[in-house]
């Protein structure tokens, strides 16, 4: 993808965010109208621990690998620890997406990812008893490693990023025991590592146990949205089955763009189901 296309995409994202603000009031009014009477967006403070498992579909485009699109199905395991206060939310999460990839020539590949993040959000507005809008920040470590076994059997590819950026969440309690929470986050300040454009074997250097980790954290650079732009959207449905039991299902869309040393894009959609237990 050319730089102009990337700029266009970025402008598009900003426009969308700006547009969100403009139509925000209208959407809130619509949601309030749709919400069932008697439900509350703030059902009370609680701390939850949970896990979920799901399926995903991932696409990768890395111009270090001839700009091919690699795509395929996968699975994702997630663990969460969350605390909902009366006016704020803490969310710690671990996710492990794994995808089996292929390109149009049937070259195989694999992508595995470790995502650790912590998010904090405060409720800034409750336009109705069943709606709340939270605003906060998220700190994320995203360690995405790819191995294109048929195309490059000698090297790992990766996109390692430490990201800090805003988080916005909208919660809708549409029935007394059922809620939907939509989240959107991105990164404004990132510390990113990508492979160099040209690499040699480095024969006889694979001597350290932590090789994979250290290699994928080399050449870290500090950057922001002009070079590194993640956009992550999630919709979580929660069913409060009982006093402590929560069933959850999530629909996630993750997009990451990085420009260095050549353009990298990842787009993943996931659908998960899981259980959380209120402590």
């Amino acid at each position: 993808m050319r730089t102009g296309d990337i700029l266009g995409l970025r402008r598009g994202s900003q426009t969308w965010i700006g547009g969100f603000k403009r139509v925000h009031a209208c959407r809130l009014l619509l949601l309030v109208w749709l919400a069932p009477a008697g439900a509350r967006a703030d059902p009370g403070a609680e701390t939850r621990i949970g896990g979920d498992l799901g399926v995903l579909h991932m696409q990768l485009h890395d111009e270090l690998v001839r700009g091919l699109r690699w795509s395929g199905p996968g699975a994702m395991l997630g663990l969460t620890l969350a605390h909902d206060g009366s006016d704020d939310t803490h969310l710690g999460r671990m996710r492990f997406p794994l995808a089996m990839l292929g390109n149009r020539y049937d070259h195989g590949g694999i992508s595995w990812d470790v995502q650790l993040d912590y998010g904090y959000a405060r409720t800034i507005v409750r336009p109705s008893p069943v709606l709340q809008l939270d605003l906060g920040a998220r700190l994320r470590w995203d360690w995405a490693v790819q191995y294109y076994e048929d195309f490059d059997e000698e090297h790992l590819y990766w996109m390692t990023a430490y990201e800090l950026g805003p988080l916005v969440a909208l919660t809708w309690l549409f029935a007394p025991s059922h809620s939907l929470r939509g989240t959107l986050d991105t990164s404004l300040l990132s510390l990113v590592s990508r492979p160099p454009e040209r690499r040699f074997y480095k024969i006889g250097r694979l001597t350290h146990v932590d090789y994979f980790f250290s290699k994928t954290h080399e050449r870290m650079r500090v950057t922001t949205v002009h070079e590194h732009l993640p956009a992550r959207v999630g919709i979580t449905y929660t069913w409060r089955m009982g006093e402590r039991a929560r069933l959850q299902s999530r629909l996630l869309a993750d997009f990451v763009y990085d420009s260095e040393p050549r353009a990298f894009m990842m787009l993943a959609f996931a659908l998960t189901a899981g259980y959380a237990h209120a402590l």
Partner: protein, 374 residues
């Protein structure tokens, strides 16, 4: 289930979600073309290559262009990088199908490195640093051997023809060498037991040229890379290269050399000219004749019947010999036609799916030979 939840699950929103997921596998991210637009004319880049054209050097232009059009086809040789044709000492055609800048980009030539090790063995013999290919390896690096007397009969020719007899699994132990970072790579290789007497069976392994690199280094008193730079690369005007060295200081004689395509073509032209380069005999004619003669039958590429010389693949049918590197790194030399063909490709593709193999390249070379009009 509360009634309002049921409405949500079965309502229009669920249809939207279903459509959303149905669209996912269709793909949204770009899927670039593998090949750039057709190009086949050698470019003046200020190096010492003489540039010419197919018509001037006796090619049927249409037939040669047909080969190049095939080379640039999106679904033929998808991992290819460059294709160069040299005739009568001049660069006749040159196409870069991945990126025009690949003309200056170092690329791993993989096992074509072995053919360079063969040239350097010849130079070491020519200079008297080694006695000849009949010399025993033990005579040069006795400290690397264990007590097995049979191993001590191993000769330099056994190394050159992949007939060491060592029980060395090329996949397993080459990786073990990399991962474990052996203290002494030569002793590690020679510590493997014999499964056959040296000289008996062909068994392709990277360990053989690596041992030979160690032998040459000991004999000439410098690293194989330094020896190559002074005796080969400097006279050839090859300045930009990378040649990787094992952790114990032995230049890797099997793989690990990175050259730009035009410099790979210089190696081919040197071989075509029987070791002669612009007034100097860099490698003796006698060595070139001995090393490029087919000596051993191999199980590889049975359909095209190549034999193995001293780290060169030979074919009597086409009257030529070839350096062959994993992924699609080739030099092909045809004496009778005064012709060199060079191809480079993505170097790390797997044999099963991505790599361009000798059979593929052989087909391309036959078409190029067929395009020679006179």
């Amino acid at each position: 289930m509360p009634s309002n939840l049921g409405r949500f699950a079965l309502g229009r929103r669920s249809v939207g979600v279903a459509i959303f997921f149905a669209c996912v596998p269709m793909g949204c991210l770009p899927d670039d073309r593998m090949k750039i637009p057709y190009n086949d004319a050698p470019r003046a880049i200020g190096d010492d290559w003489k540039l010419s054209s197919p018509g001037a050097e006796g090619f049927d232009v249409e037939r040669l262009q047909a080969v190049y059009r095939d080379f640039f086809h999106e679904n033929r040789f998808p991992t290819a990088i460059s294709l160069l044709v040299v005739r009568h000492g001049a660069l006749v055609a040159e196409g870069y199908c991945r990126d025009l800048d690949d003309i200056r980009r170092l690329n791993a030539i993989q096992s074509a490195t072995k053919s360079l090790t063969s040239l350097l063995t010849g130079i070491a013999i020519d200079e008297g640093s080694l006695e000849g290919e009949g010399q025993r390896v033990h005579a040069v690096i006795p400290d690397k051997f264990d007590d097995d007397p049979k191993k001590r009969t191993m000769t330099i020719e056994n190394l050159l023809t992949m007939r060491t007899g060592l029980d060395f699994d090329n996949e397993r132990f080459s990786i073990e060498l990399l991962i474990d970072g052996q203290q002494d790579s030569l002793a590690y290789i020679l510590d493997k037991p014999l499964k056959a007497p040296p000289g008996a069976d062909f068994d392709y392994m990277d360990a053989s040229p690596h041992l030979l690199a160690g032998v040459i280094q000991r004999a000439v008193g410098m690293s194989l890379e330094d020896f190559a730079r002074s005796r080969l690369f400097e006279p050839l005007g090859i300045e930009r290269l990378v040649w990787e060295t094992y952790a114990d200081g032995v230049t890797y004689g099997a793989v690990g050399l990175y050259l730009v395509p035009r410099d790979l073509a210089k190696i081919g032209l040197l071989a075509l000219q029987q070791g002669h380069w612009r007034g100097q005999q860099l490698v003796s004619r006698a060595w070139m004749e001995r090393s490029t003669r087919g000596r051993v039958d191999t199980p590889f590429s049975p359909s095209i019947g190549y034999r193995y010389g001293y780290y060169w693949w030979t074919t009597s049918e086409l009257g030529g010999f070839s350096a062959d590197g994993h992924g699609g790194q080739f030099i092909f030399v045809v004496h009778d036609l005064d012709l060199v063909v060079v191809m480079t490709a993505e170097p790390h593709t797997t044999t099963e799916v991505g790599a361009i193999n000798l059979d593929d390249f052989d087909g391309l070379v036959r078409r190029i030979i067929g395009a020679v009009a006179r």
